[in-house]
């Protein structure tokens, strides 16, 4: 015979269990709704920085070794370094498309682009007494490089672009004189067409100097940013002759 107080305890426990189950189900449903609300939030994390603009990409063709300009509508950032990087990223993305005339593997090609004003100078701390007035802070000052023949700009405001490529891109790049040269000339021509202040270009791979792109094209030298399209190259050759 079950006593009365035992029955009361039993039913109280049953009510508590049911209540906790209901509470758990309700909280679970609320959690789902919160996650769903976050997923459906289409508010951009970063606001668009610029409107789409017309840029010129110098596109290479492996079949005849030519480079031809092509116009594209692309939104580019305003900051020159980011702009140069975005241009190269769009260029490499074109080559990764199916049916590309200069097929490259998809993926990020450029880690960073640095634009350095020419002529190249070094920096030193300001050793003058006036520089230490405010709490001993010594600012850095540009000084002439010890190199007696530094890289000079052709026009005032000329810049050197240092392009730091990803090793994953370089290691997967097709090997050959033509295909490697076309990639470099395509990058040089695209930068020249859209950022005319870039006069010279150097390449790094993961922040280090590397001898060749994929066994052939020289990556140790400084390249001039110039019109590398087939018509532009022919014109420059005609002038030099």
């Amino acid at each position: 015979m079950i006593q009365r107080h035992q029955r009361i305890v039993f039913w109280c426990l049953v009510v508590c269990i049911i209540g906790m189950g209901v509470l758990l189900a309700v909280e679970r449903q609320r959690g789902r709704e919160r996650i769903a609300a976050l997923a459906e939030d289409e508010t951009p994390l970063d606001a668009p920085t610029a409107m789409a603009e017309t840029v010129t990409l110098d596109l290479a063709n492996d079949a005849d070794g030519s480079i031809a300009p092509a116009s594209r509508q692309i939104a580019l950032p305003e900051e020159p370094n980011a702009r140069a990087r975005a241009l190269i990223d769009h260029l490499i993305a074109e080559y990764a498309l199916p049916g590309s005339a200069h097929a490259l593997v998809p993926g990020a090609a450029v880690a960073e682009v640095f634009l350095v004003p020419l002529p190249l100078v070094g920096y030193t701390t300001d050793a003058t007494s006036s520089a230490t007035k405010d709490g001993g802070f010594r600012p850095t000052l540009p000084v002439a490089q010890s190199d007696p023949d530094p890289v000079q700009p052709k026009q005032p405001g000329g810049e050197l672009a240092v392009i730091d490529l990803h090793s994953t891109f370089v290691n997967q790049h097709p090997s050959g004189v033509e295909v490697e040269s076309l990639t470099l000339r395509s990058i040089l021509g695209t930068l020249h067409a859209n950022l005319p202040q870039i006069e010279q270009v150097r390449f790094l791979v993961d922040g280090q100097a590397r001898e060749t792109l994929a066994g052939h094209a020289d990556l140790l030298r400084t390249y001039p940013a110039a019109d590398t399209t087939s018509s532009g190259s022919a014109a420059s050759e005609g002038q030099s002759n």
Binding site: S175, G176, E178, V179, S181, G215, A217, R221, S240
Partner: protein, 293 residues
């Protein structure tokens, strides 16, 4: 065009005794080192060659020697450096060596002496057994030969036919006494252009697909001879067609035929004595360390 980096003389390495791998069966009829213009009047050979020398009462600098019967072939890559993967069974270093052997046979039969930077898989440094040969070592071998032409042989699976490249350097008026290592080819650019033009004509006559351009491929910028990069691509859609013996023979015949004519036309650039003095005066101590007297 600005080049940065170290500067050296154009002849940093000695030629290994075994590097000159092929001699003609019969002795060449021309002297090993011909004057700049053998067909010109013998009274003023130096004046004919040194077109850009400063006018003075003292005799101008001696013309740059050139061996009209010597051709340098540089089969690119070798050893652990296989070059590009042409197909599942073919790598670039084997194709370049095979093409070099074909060219050597044809050139030797035409009376040339052929200097090859490698005639086996693994190139070795002259006078340093066991060490891998660098691109600068190859340029050193080529520059010591004073050859009528230097051909850097490559192969690629992309494209069709033959790709012909010259250096991207801008032509200079002459060759200074102290030659910057990284721009040594600049004085030879006009001759390289002429050789490229003749090769283009020969390949067109042979019916071979051809792409000509300029490229920065080491060690061509350091060569002191008319220099071209010859990149062999497959003859058709099949990458293995690059190994076709008839195709390679056709390419080699076109090159050998061009060089046979070229040996009578090649002219060394003028030697710029005045420019050399300026270069020495502007050079840093480290640059001048390797200066040629």
């Amino acid at each position: 065009m600005t080049m940065t980096g170290r500067a050296q003389v154009a002849e940093p390495a000695a030629v290994a005794p075994g590097q000159e791998t092929s001699k003609p069966a019969t002795a060449p009829k021309r002297p090993a080192t011909a004057p700049a213009k053998p067909t010109a009047a013998p009274a003023k050979p130096a004046a004919a060659a040194v077109r850009h020398a400063a006018p003075s009462s003292t005799p101008g600098p001696a013309p740059i020697p050139i061996n009209r019967t010597v051709i340098v072939l540089d089969p690119a890559h070798g050893g652990v450096d296989s070059g590009s993967q042409i197909s599942d069974t073919t790598v670039e270093k084997n194709v370049t060596l095979a093409l070099a052997f074909r060219l050597r046979s044809l050139l030797t039969a035409r009376g040339f002496s052929v200097v090859m930077t490698r005639d086996a898989d693994a190139p070795a440094v002259p006078n340093a057994a066991g060490s891998a040969m660098t691109l600068d070592d190859r340029a050193g071998i080529a520059n010591h030969a004073h050859a009528a032409a230097c051909l850097v042989l490559h192969a690629t699976p992309s494209g069709n036919g033959v790709h012909l490249y010259r250096s991207e350097l801008e032509a200079s008026e002459g060759q200074p006494t102290v030659v910057p290592w990284l721009t040594a080819q600049a004085a030879w650019i006009p001759q390289s252009r002429l050789l490229e033009k003749q090769m283009t004509t020969a390949f067109s006559r042979s019916g071979l697909a051809l792409v000509t351009s300029s490229a920065s491929v080491r060690p061509i910028d350091s060569l002191t001879c008319p220099a071209l990069v010859v990149e062999l691509a497959p003859s058709g859609d099949d990458a293995d067609s690059i190994n076709d013996t008839d195709y390679q023979q056709k390419v080699a015949l076109a090159i050998a035929g061009t060089l046979l004519v070229w040996q009578n036309q090649v002219q060394p650039p003028a030697r710029l004595a005045a420019a050399a003095k300026e270069t020495v005066g502007q050079a840093t101590p480290s640059d001048a360390a390797g200066a040629q007297p």
